[in-house]
């Protein structure tokens, strides 16, 4: 049901098509890249952008109604949870001993014994209770 006379609809479907393209590249990257860390890069991020663009397309197509707001919220949740999950997987993989791909150029994390050999300059400040 594409209304070709409505520029906003065309924009919406264009954004969705771009999202699908990024999702596809993410999947290709998942197959082609060598180790768990590089695969996380493609698998979580190209796919994050792709899915966010799909949801953005939904927002453009349906406007700020009940559906548009939900699309926007899903977009926000994906943008917040996907990097957190990728970070957790990468950290767990490193601690479980999964080596970097042999062509990798350096691993500061292993050099620093997974953060135990480094002295943090300052602990995080708690904001003052206002």
């Amino acid at each position: 049901m594409i209304d070709f006379s409505n520029p906003l609809h065309l924009l919406a479907y264009g954004v969705m098509a771009a999202g699908l393209a990024f999702d596809l590249v993410g999947c290709i990257g998942l197959v082609r890249l060598p180790d768990v860390y590089n695969r996380l890069q493609a698998g979580t991020k190209c796919v994050t952008l792709g899915t966010c663009l799909l949801l953005l397309g939904v927002l453009l197509r349906f406007g700020f109604g009940s559906m548009g707001w939900k699309a926007l919220l899903c977009l926000w949740f994906i943008a917040m949870t996907s990097p957190t999950a990728a970070h957790a997987i990468a950290r767990a993989a490193h601690r479980a001993g999964y080596a970097l791909w042999k062509g990798s150029v350096g691993d500061r994390y292993a050099e620093d014994d997974e953060g135990r050999n480094i002295q943090p300059a300052a602990a995080a400040d708690r904001p003052k209770e206002a």
């Binding site: 990257g29 890249l33 590089n38 890069q41 990097p83 970070h87 500061r108 994390y109 708690r126």
Partner: protein
């Protein structure tokens, strides 16, 4: 107290966005539920949440969204190029970078921003030290290059949370 208020405001806006009905019954129900939730969850909410009620901080938080989006798109095109290139031109490795941000929320937002920008993935955060997996490590001074590219995020995050 301010934290409860902040949590209430965000929960209530969330309620309005999800239900998208504006009759009295729906709004009253939402207000009561959100107030109870805010009071119950004050212990696990972000300590920095009240800061987002301040207009200038909210402004920078909203201004950060399109900026981050541009970086994400640009970096995605870079990763797409590397993935689709027949020779797979990658030079992966883990670098170390120190952040000048002080608050926990600021550091978490920075780590998430790094991960969202393709080509870089936060592996661990110890105090002010970030370990970042890069899909293409620069030839000379990889740690310094990473710290310089963190600076553009830090300027924004500092205005939001510090």
């Amino acid at each position: 107290m301010k934290k409860i208020l902040a949590l209430f405001v965000f929960a209530f806006l969330f309620w309005l966005a999800v239900t998208w009905t504006f009759d009295v019954a729906s709004i009253v129900t939402g207000a009561v539920v959100c107030a109870a939730l805010a009071a119950a969850l004050v212990g696990v909410g972000l300590d920095e949440a009240p800061l987002l009620l301040l207009p200038h901080r909210l402004f920078w938080a909203l201004a950060y969204v399109p900026v981050l989006f541009l970086y994400v798109v640009r970096a995605n095109l870079d990763v797409a190029y590397r993935v689709l290139h027949p020779a797979l031109p990658i030079r992966p490795g883990i670098v170390r970078a120190r952040t000048s941000l002080k608050t926990p929320a600021g550091r978490v937002l920075l780590a998430n921003s790094i991960t969202l920008t393709p080509g870089t993935l936060s592996v661990d955060l110890t105090g002010d030290v970030l370990y970042i997996h890069c899909i293409h490590v620069p030839e000379d001074d990889p740690d310094g290059a990473m710290e310089r590219s963190l600076a553009r995020f830090e300027t924004f995050i500092r205005r939001i949370f510090e």
